[in-house]
Symmetry: C2
Subunit: 761 residues, 2 copies
């Protein structure tokens, strides 16, 4: 791994080195998207080395038949997977009859820049073809934030000799398959296609679904900035839908292809309107031209940065990283469509199927709460509310009843998709993350209406789950939760995972608390409210019994909570005992060896200290942090951010900084050697949390807002805006002081570093 | 479930009822085999209802690419699966142009008998076809014990009207696929075929392997017992290799087809000799004729029964069952070929791939030791010796070294085939079963040469495995074994499974003991022997430390060993709390629910009381038996027999009898509702153990042989022969007394019911 593969720059990701076999890694980094559609950073022209062509539409998925060696009762029939769509970006280029393929040319100069401030990606290359023809290509593109269905490419070819025949075939490549297909089946089938002069349309249906999509593009050409009329010849490759045009160029001529393209889909519009929409989108975009379209898009990105930028002075590495994270989060999901969610890899790869995990609630909701209108987070929670019935069915599958809900580990519509028993059936702590997101949403927004109408119903169903999922151990005289997997997935089917047990207790407490708060606010009695929600006195008192008597493993000797029963029987050698060539252990060790080792994939007890910080003292945090950190290998993207936040809390800012760098630069520096699979989008919310909740120490407790700010040594200053309780507040921290400013909303009282401040606009 | 689906008969399994949709169940019951080749009890003629056509050759397997939802490091690339071969049994029959298909006829009379004494199966049916033609068919067949490559069918058709056109196509059906193929791939491909008059040959290769097989048949016809020359017309169905002949029959005419067929394979002979062998086999068999071939086969079965029959008087249900078990074990494996082993379903089904599990050592070796020449058991152990190198590689995969061996859970050649991490990597107690089989082999045979040359090497490698697989828990100040699955597969990734920990301790002790015994016998010092086997003093003392300090979970309060850490935290409700409609739980509950329940699939702590009985008192056995029995659902075929033996030991003969019936009639009465998948062959050895080691109480301790005999109330008497230390001893037990007789071998001293007896021939 190069120390910094990409140039350190505050606003851009730049690669200047052309390493043909590693372009598949950069494809992930240079991905583009607008929350609705997105794509990996593929070259437009042919490329014969490692690559993963990837174009995706959020909400368009295939139900991929489950693959499993040994079926267990309750496994889901399918895993919903985001569909890799026909590729509208494709431009086949032939130079004097030689196919342009950067893998087969001499590269004299190469430069690619992802400009995050303005939301475009540009690639320049000066090359000599096999036929010894020197040309320069330049491709600039973006996916439009304002025009959700389209992207635009400006592709230039400059020649340096006379009489160069350049043939260009802008097209849709329909020879695309999902790489994660379980059974090597196609997910998409072509219904029909149109290829007429400068227009290409492919209508496709997603197999075994109601989904239909239409992929389209339209182009025009200019030479030396003068628009020209071309002759069009239909492609004779049945997989490439489009028409080619041939041009004879002379010395210093520059041919430009302006290509607009994208997707419409049946979630957004009726199929019968597809062609009308395409016509309108293309005509409007072509009329505007690339430059104006790009400007329009820059303005949209300006608005996003206005609200969500974090400015770090003095450490370009940190600055670049946080912007990359914020940029990717906004490319993946922007809250415009209440039905979409956040796949762990966004539009940058197929791993995890592009569908919803607990990542959304635990790592993304805070970012969207802090930087967007509160409707965005509400819509994410509404999705869970709408899926409550499916979550209840899911709990029935594991033998529970009476309205107990187990939210799925992986889902697109509330039905479980995952099929490893140790995860599917046992990683039940996900239920608590949803309750945590509700809590966070309420304290950020004071939206009690959501709580009363929907949130409380989710909380009750989750509490019912915990009530039935515990059992009483006569041996311990305590309630226990057996057979779970905690956030640390390097332990399976364990008993009494401290984090899970504590989460269960907290969910029950929080539900009872909110029931009585709702009662208070509405001047009704608790009893009335219980009745209204179908809760019996017995149920509540059973919850209380569990709250008081749940087993929470603890070692007096070590003064730490024990991750799970039996953890202390392990061979407790810190991670520096693992030879470097055996890291990451999940790529080197058999599963049993990982399981019986003390090594922890991601924050587990410490995830509890993050969520439930108010319940524990700093001393307890220090002791648990110190104990568990020595065993934690951070082989999940979700680990470093939590460690950074906790290190901030215990005033170990150097450590917090190291973890922040690891969290935020995970993909840019490819810590886990898997970047070609795509970016770790959901964990990027954790980078934001590392700064806002970590260094800046934002806490909201009931009505009060606190900042307990710190600053890493390398940073001169940092600043950000955050939405809290219908206000937008700007915080600036330098090495000496912190200042806060109310950007919008009513006067508010804050506590900054133990000092009360009243903010006025 | 009918109480007794098959007629109770001491020597035969008889079905008189034709239930078309259930014929797939009877196919399993009426399976035939000779240890080399075998087949399910399929109808020869076409049959359009549920069926599983199955013909198999022991040792001929396909490497089926592993199917797994989520790959874990160390998973094997393939699962070896016995190949479902082209079907030589097929006989297509047409009556006046109507295809004979019992599913489409009116069945006036139906009778099928599996005669276990004589080793044949006969089926008779009187039927009316759709064209209202009444015919009688009679098919008698067997697989030859003496002629390992062949089986024979005598198929008769009798008509009751004049001018009935009967067309017969004896053929090989090549349209056969394995039902357990992971990827729906064919395992076999046809190289070429010959179809010439009364001869059919299909040469096939097993895909991606060196294996080739040849399927063949030859026939002749007679009418009313007079051999006739037929006209042959080659089949126009490309899947049916053979020639048809047409006959015009008149009232009471009986047409007989004598068909000899079977397989030669490249494990047994070079491919170039295939045709010569086939010619010889067919010509000899046709010359002998069906009746003489059958007689010859009856003689072979007589010899088997002479050595291995168990005669039970007074309880035909028990008598029939034990003979069915002994018969099937002999059909599956007879020890003639030192390279073959015992698949859990023999030739009767494809589940478990037909390859080797710990079942062989734990449940089958005792039967073969007791009823066959000691070479048979030795050959089974030799296979494990020959696979030691692969077992060492297998241990390396989970991070162990220095010659530690982990025998695979499932294997055909020493390489692991199984791919559930909780089994593959964690069900490590299988190693101990191999050491137990060595122990049993040595005490039954006194073959110290095997011990010195091979057995001790296996024992050392297994001990090295345990030494490295334990770790020291500072908390407990004990050695622990974390992350295992015990014999009770309804718990996964548990810590300190008592059975596994005790087995580890025992293996280490037994290895040290046998090292010193070898030293004693050869007048060498222990040190000399350690050195010779590459063992250091440190290694031995490390073993001793583990023996003395291994954690063996125990509850003083309950006076039982605890199945594993945490077991007593479960909701300990006995099995009568499970509603009947939720049994078996593995067909009704999600996996997590099973795991966190206290329900036990098969003997676990009690398996330890079986293997290590001498280490515990009767009181301890009573207490543990009582405690664990209440949670045991016996959803493994390997459970009831162990419970029967232990119930005998604690003098609860009624219970022992019930478990014996359950063990021995598991398939005949289809307790687990899965008979269509095939018979539970390996557990049948457990039925034999239930009688010989259970009721008859056979124990061999060092040089001494004991019988502690009991008899179930319903039995008037029972008797059997058993091979011990180069003698054959016959034991007869009636309600009042036990007598023993030396059938062959030298004088020997026995203890029967605490009385010493010297047996002379």
């Amino acid at each position: 791994m190069l120390k910094y593969k990409y140039v350190l720059d505050p606003w851009s990701i730049i690669e200047n080195k052309f390493d043909s076999s590693k372009m598949i890694d950069s494809e992930s980094i240079f991905s583009l998207g607008n929350g609705k559609i997105g794509q990996r950073g593929n070259f437009e022209e042919d490329f014969s080395n490692n690559k993963t062509i990837g174009n995706y539409i959020s909400g368009i998925y295939f139900r991929d038949k489950t693959k499993v060696g040994w079926w267990k009762k309750g496994y889901p029939d399918y895993f919903a997977k985001m569909v890799n769509c026909p590729n509208w970006n494709k431009i086949r280029i032939t130079i004097n009859k030689e196919l342009l393929d950067l893998n087969k040319c001499e590269i004299l100069f190469y430069h690619r820049e992802l400009n995050m401030k303005e939301g475009w990606c540009e690639r320049k290359a000066l090359i000599t073809t096999n036929n010894s023809i020197k040309i320069e290509i330049q491709s600039k593109k973006f996916i439009s934030l304002k025009r959700e269905n389209i992207g635009a490419i400006n592709y230039k070819i400059k020649v340096f000799d006379n009489n160069i025949k350049v043939k260009v075939l802008p097209c849709i490549d329909i020879n695309i398959r999902n790489n994660d297909s379980n059974w090597n089946e196609p997910f998409v089938t072509t219904i029909n296609s149109i290829s007429k002069n400068n227009l290409g349309i492919v209508n496709s249906s997603i197999i075994n679904s109601e989904f239909e999509i239409s992929t389209f593009f339209k182009t025009f050409y200019s030479i030396n900035n003068k628009k020209i009329d071309a002759n069009y010849l239909e492609s004779n490759d049945k997989n490439l839908i489009g028409c080619s045009s041939e041009f004879l160029l002379n010395k210093n001529d520059e041919l430009t292809l302006f290509k607009v393209g994208g997707y419409v889909n049946s979630n957004d519009s009726e199929k019968k309107y597809f062609n009308d929409i395409i016509k309108k989108e293309c005509d409007n975009a072509l009329k505007a031209g690339f430059i104006d379209l790009c400007k329009e898009n820059i303005e949209e990105w300006n608005k996003i940065w206005e609200d969500s930028d974090i400015i770090i002075n003095g450490d370009v590495k940190s600055q670049q990283a946080i912007r990359f994270n914020i940029f990717q989060l906004n490319q993946t999901f922007n809250g415009n469509d209440p039905n979409l969610n956040i796949g762990p890899k966004g539009f940058t790869g197929e791993k995890y199927g592009g569908v919803t995990y607990w990542d959304t609630e635990a790592y993304c909701v805070p970012f969207y709460l802090g930087t967007k209108h509160s409707d965005v987070a509400k819509n994410l929670l509404n999705q869970r509310y709408n899926q409550l019935e499916n979550a209840i069915k899911n709990a029935e599958k594991i033998g529970l009843n009476h309205g107990a809900a187990l939210y799925p580990m992986v889902t697109v519509n509330g039905e479980e998709c995952h099929n490893e028993w140790e995860i599917t059936f046992e990683e039940i702590h996900r239920n608590a993350a949803i309750a945590q997101a509700i809590k966070k949403y309420i304290i950020f927004t004071d939206d009690f209406k959501f709580l009363e109408n929907k949130g409380i119903k989710i909380l009750i169903a989750i509490s019912r789950f915990w009530e039935q999922r515990v059992n009483f151990s006569s041996l311990l005289n305590k309630y226990v939760i057996l057979g779970v997997t905690g956030p640390n997935e390097y332990e399976n089917n364990i008993d009494n995972n401290w984090y899970t047990n504590y989460s269960a207790k907290w969910c029950l407490e929080y539900t009872i608390y909110q029931l009585s708060e709702i009662a208070k606010r509405s001047n009704r009695s608790n009893e009335f409210l219980y009745k209204e929600n179908g809760l019996s006195r017995d149920e509540i008192s059973s919850w209380k019994k569990i709250i008081e008597n749940i087993h929470l493993p603890y070692s007096k000797e070590l003064n730490v909570f024990i991750q799970n029963d039996g953890f202390l029987n392990k061979d407790l050698k810190p991670i520096n005992n693992i030879p470097q060539n055996q890291r990451p252990i999940n790529q080197n060790w058999s599963w049993d060896r990982i399981l019986r080792s003390p090594y922890i994939k991601q924050a587990d007890v410490l995830q509890g200290f993050y969520f439930f910080e108010d319940d524990f003292s700093k001393t307890e945090l220090v002791s648990n942090f110190k104990f568990y950190e020595q065993f934690t290998v951070h082989e999940s993207s979700l680990s470093a951010c939590i460690h950074s936040i906790l290190a901030s809390r215990i005033n170990n800012i150097d450590k917090a900084y190291d973890y922040y760098v690891r969290a935020s630069r995970l993909d840019l520096d490819d810590y886990n050697k898997e970047i070609k699979q795509g970016l770790h989008i959901t964990s990027m919310g954790g980078s934001w949390m590392s700064i806002v909740e970590g260094f800046a120490g934002l806490r909201i407790k009931n009505d009060k807002i606190y900042f307990d700010t710190k600053i890493p040594k390398k940073w001169e200053s940092y600043s950000f805006k955050v939405n809290i309780k219908n206000r937008k507040i700007e915080i600036k921290i330098d090495q000496k002081s912190t200042s806060a400013k109310l950007i919008s909303g009513d006067k508010i009282n804050l506590t900054i570093n133990d000092t009360n401040t009243i903010l006025n606009k």
